[in-house]
Amino acid sequence: MKRNLPLIFAFICGIVVVASDFIPHRPFNLMIDTLQNWFMIIVGFAILLGQISLFQSNIYKIQHKVSGWYYYLAGLISFVIMLVLGLLWGTQEYQGLLGHGLAVQAWLGSKPFDYLFDNAYLPLSATMFSLLAFFVASAAYRAFIIRSFESNLLMITAIIVILGRTSFGGMLTSWVPESYSFWHLPNLSDFIMEYPNTAAQRAIMISAALGIIGSSLRIILGIERSYLGSDK
C-alpha cells in the first residue's frame, strides 16, 4: 500500500490530465479544473514544508553551535520578522490578518512587509546579482584562454551581441557604407539573434520537449518511481 497506491494515484492523475486535453467535455473538463485547484493547494503546502525544513536546519545549527551559528540566527530572525509582518499587515496587494494597518503605514510610509522588501530584500538581491558582473568577467577571461574554436565562437558572438545592443556598437560601425549595412554591429547582432540563436534555441526546446515527454510517460506508467524515495 505504501508504494503501489501512490503509483496508482500518479497514473490516474496523469491519465485524467492527458485525456482531458483530448476530451474537452464533462466530466473531464471538471476533473482537470478540480485537479489543478488541488494541485495549487498541495503546492502551497509543499512550499510551507520547504520553509519548515529551512527553519529546522537553522535551529539545528544554532542548537549545536556549528561554526558561524550566529549568522544562521540572524537569518532565522529576519525570516520570522518578515513572515510575521507580512502575515499581520499583508503586502501591497493583499490585506493581512490585522487588515491594512493604516496607522502603521502612516508611521512607516508603507506596509511593514513592503518597507523591509524595499529597503532590505531589494538592495540585497540586486547587489547579490550585480556581484556576478565581476565573476562573469573572470569567466569570460577563462573562456578566452582556452583558445578552442568553440570557445572563440562563443566569445565573439557575446562581444557582437553586447556591442550590437549598445549605442557604442552602433557608433563603432557608423562609418560602414549603407550598401554594407549588414555589417553594422546592431544589424549583425539582430541577425545572430534572429537566425543562428533561434535555431539553437529551437533545437534545445525540441530536444528538451522530447525528454520531458519521455520522462512524463515513465512517471505516469509507474516506470520512474524515484520520487517515492526508499523504504528505509
Binding site: 509543499a46 547587489t127 565562437l153 557575446a158 539573434m193 543562428p196 540563436n197
Partner: protein, 212 residues
C-alpha cells in the same frame, strides 16, 4: 516619523549594498551576515506570497465562506497536511500520496503542454521555404535556421556513437549551440552590468546626492 523611517531604510539599504560588495575583497563576517539575512527574507517573502496568493483564495477563503459547498477541498487540505508529515521520520511515507498526485498531475500537464508548444509548434515553425524571404541575408538566415535546428537536435541524439561522417552534423550543431550560448552570455553580462549600474546609481544619487 515617516522621514526618519525613510532615512533609516536608506541607510539599511546602503549597509546591505556595501556588505555584499565587500565580498569582492574577500569572504568576511559582514557578507556572511547579509547573505543569511537575504536567505531568511527570501524564504519569508515567498511564504507570505504563497499564503496570500495560493492558500487564501483557493482554500481558506472558500472554506470559511461556504464550508458545506466546498467540503471537497478538505481532500487537498488533508493531502497537504500529509505532505507536512514528511518532517517526522516515522510518518514520512504519508507524504508519498500528495507527492504522487503532484508528480502525476504535473507529468500529465507537461506532457501535453510540451508536445504542443515546444515540439509540434517548433517543428512546424522550422518547416519554412527559405527562398520566400525578401533579402539575401534573410534567405541565408532561413537556411541557417533550418540547418541549425536539424544539426542541434542531431547533437542531442545520444543513442548512437557519433563518429566519422555522422559526427559532422553533430559538430555543426555544437557550433550553433555555442553561438546561442554566446548570445545568452552577452545578455547575462548586460543584465548584470545593468544591475551594477543600478546599485552605483543608488549609492551616488539616492545616498550621496553626487549625481542628479
Amino acid at each position: 516619523m515617516t522621514g526618519f523611517m525613510s532615512t533609516l531604510g536608506l541607510w539599511m539599504a546602503v549597509f546591505f549594498t556595501f556588505s555584499i560588495f565587500s565580498f569582492l575583497y574577500k569572504d568576511n563576517p559582514l557578507y556572511k551576515l547579509s547573505e543569511q539575512i537575504f536567505v531568511g527574507l527570501s524564504a519569508a517573502y515567498w511564504l507570505v506570497y504563497t499564503f496570500f496568493s495560493m492558500m487564501m483564495p483557493n482554500l481558506i477563503v472558500k472554506l470559511s465562506s461556504d464550508f458545506k459547498g466546498n467540503i471537497i477541498l478538505l481532500i487537498p487540505a488533508t493531502l497537504g497536511f500529509m505532505m507536512l508529515l514528511r518532517i517526522f521520520p516515522k510518518t514520512q511515507w504519508f507524504s508519498r500520496f500528495p507527492i504522487a498526485i503532484m508528480i502525476g498531475t504535473s507529468a500529465g500537464i507537461n506532457m501535453v503542454r510540451y508536445t504542443k508548444s515546444d515540439l509540434l509548434s517548433q517543428v512546424s515553425a522550422t518547416m519554412i521555404n527559405p527562398f520566400a524571404a525578401a533579402t539575401t541575408s534573410a534567405i541565408i538566415g532561413n537556411f541557417l535556421l533550418i540547418i541549425g535546428t536539424i544539426c542541434g537536435v542531431y547533437f542531442f541524439y545520444f543513442s548512437k556513437k557519433q563518429e566519422g561522417m555522422s559526427a559532422v552534423p553533430s559538430k555543426l550543431g555544437i557550433w550553433f549551440l555555442m553561438i546561442s550560448f554566446g548570445a545568452s552570455f552577452g545578455y547575462t553580462v548586460m543584465a548584470r552590468v545593468s544591475l551594477l549600474i543600478g546599485r552605483l546609481e543608488f549609492l551616488l544619487k539616492d545616498w550621496l546626492h553626487i549625481i542628479k
